[in-house]
């Protein structure tokens, strides 16, 4: 009796699964059939041009952000409060406020202060591109600093001890043992942060930059085809993320190869 009930439940489950799958497929086919392909083809090149800006922003932000993150993480771990507290405050501020507000603060806020407007800083901060990049570098720097900090602390104490036992100074140990090990530990979380940054760059469209989202919104303002163009933009983001993940997981496997040896 009980076995029969179980069979019945399994059959119901499978049937629901089929029905749901059919519904999803039908929805996708319907969705594809109502898309305005004329608009998509006409503006695809323009949208791809926006994707180039997006890639540029995220690449530069992540690379420069790393060079902000590493010293910040080390300062954060320092026993000296004069180093520790500024790093802590910096991280706290950037993690505690929305990226959009940080960007508005830099773009609109800086433009209203004389210190920025009447010095050599203005030619830089006059341009939306540098304002966006400046914000992204600091933002991703703050988040990555926390990731690195956690990774450094997660380096097994035995390995540090071993390094010291070899007579390495503190900095040599950092350079040869602790940091290389910490980067390996940080890889998955760091990859996540880079993907967050990729999507964070969409906010640059609010300060007149024509990145992927900015171009999409401008095209939509003209053609009123929001689903179609946002779908294309979304697919491009997915494609970028996919390519990045593929590369990142290969690096991760390579540098963490010794971990996958375990059964």
């Amino acid at each position: 009796m009980q076995a029969e009930t179980k069979d019945l439940l399994i059959r119901i489950a499978w049937r629901s699964f089929y029905v749901l799958t059919a519904l999803v497929v039908a929805a996708i086919i319907y969705g594809l059939s109502i898309l305005n392909y004329g608009v998509i083809f006409k503006y695809f090149g323009k949208v791809l041009g926006g994707a180039v800006i997006t890639l540029e922003l995220v690449t530069i932000a992540v690379i420069l952000g790393f060079f902000v993150a590493l010293p910040t993480a080390l300062m954060r771990l320092s026993p000296n409060p004069l180093l520790r507290y500024p790093a802590h405050t910096f991280i706290y501020f950037f993690r505690g406020t929305p990226l959009l507000i940080q960007m508005f603060f830099v773009y609109y806020g800086f433009a209203q202060t004389d210190i920025v407007r009447e010095t050599f800083l203005w030619p830089i901060f006059k341009q939306a591109y540098w304002c966006a990049l400046f914000t992204f570098v600091l933002n991703t720097g703050a988040y990555s600093a926390e990731i690195l900090r956690g990774a450094i602390q997660a380096v097994p104490a035995g390995e540090i001890e071993a390094a010291r036992a070899f007579g390495m100074s503190k900095w040599t140990a950092y350079r040869r043992v602790i940091l290389p090990r910490a980067f390996r530990i940080a890889m998955p979380a760091y990859g996540n942060e880079i993907i967050f940054m990729l999507k964070g760059t969409a906010l640059a469209s609010t300060i007149t930059l024509l990145d992927l989202t900015g171009v999409a919104r401008t095209v939509i303002a003209r053609t009123f085809t929001s689903i179609d163009v946002f779908l294309v933009a979304g697919l491009i983001y997915v494609a970028i993320t996919y390519c990045f993940l593929w590369g990142w997981s290969r690096i991760e496997k390579r540098v963490n190869a010794y971990l996958s040896q375990q059964p």
Binding site: A111, K126, T206, G214, R217, A221
Partner: protein
């Protein structure tokens, strides 16, 4: 007693019939200064309201005003809560499917603003940075006509476009003339001025009425023409704007 009731009923009928043609309930929003707003004393005022009153006087109609939130303003008309909408409503094809419109009683066009004394020549904008709000007629005008000449900056809000003009990131802003005028009147807009003439009449504003109210439409159209001809319109216009908005 019965007799009295009949007299009352008859009186009501007669009085009803006497003003039936001339009684108009006019709907507006009351939250769109300076066109229609409720002043601190609770009185409905503004350009729309004064034009409506002038039209009523012209038609010798007995008018009352009804206010209604913007979202429900067309449904309210269709539900016969009022007979006209005089609320700065742009005539659009979508709205025309639901309601009829009179001829325009004012219109909006595009006009540049720039820093006072900038000497900006709107015929020579090559290489300048010009801002506009995204998804507005001004933004689209720039994209269609100026894309290869000027550096177009599109903003999410009109406010942000003005902030960047004040910061010096852009040389000029293109927007609806009335929107720009309102900003020029504010504290933030003090150091700025219109440059060049207005162009591209983008927005035609009319009075909405229920479909099939042809009688009322003809009367209103006639009255609009009449108040323009006799100078009443110009007088009201001058109270609000130093330029004609017809």
């Amino acid at each position: 007693m019965k007799k009295f009731a009949i007299i009352v009923a008859a009186a009501m009928l007669v009085s009803g019939a006497a003003v039936a043609g001339d009684k108009i309930r006019m709907g507006t929003e009351g939250a769109y200064p300076p066109f229609n707003q409720i002043d601190p004393s609770g009185k409905l005022t503004g350009f729309d309201v004064e034009i409506g009153d002038a039209l009523c006087e012209q038609m010798k109609a007995d008018c009352t005003w009804v206010t209604q939130d913007w979202d429900g303003i067309i449904p309210g008309l269709l539900a016969k809560k009022y007979d006209t909408i005089i609320a700065s409503m742009s005539i659009t094809d979508e709205r025309k499917q639901a309601v009829d419109f009179t001829e325009r009683y004012y219109s909006n066009s595009l006009r540049y603003v720039a820093k006072k004394g900038s000497g900006l020549d709107v015929t020579k904008l090559k290489g300048k940075a010009v801002g506009a709000q995204r998804a507005t007629i001004a933004g689209q005008y720039l994209e269609d006509n100026m894309a290869d000449k000027v550096d177009i900056k599109l903003y999410d809000t009109q406010e942000n476009a003005y902030i960047d003009l004040a910061a010096g990131r852009t040389d000029a802003i293109l927007a609806d003339m009335l929107v720009n005028y309102e900003w020029l009147q504010s504290d933030a807009g003090k150091g700025f001025e219109f440059v060049g003439d207005s162009f591209n009449r983008s927005d035609i504003i009319g009075i909405a009425i229920r479909k099939g109210s042809d009688d009322l439409r003809k009367k209103l159209n006639g009255a609009i023409k009449a108040i323009i001809a006799d100078g009443t319109y110009a007088k009201i216009n001058a109270k609000y704007f130093p330029f004609s908005i017809y």
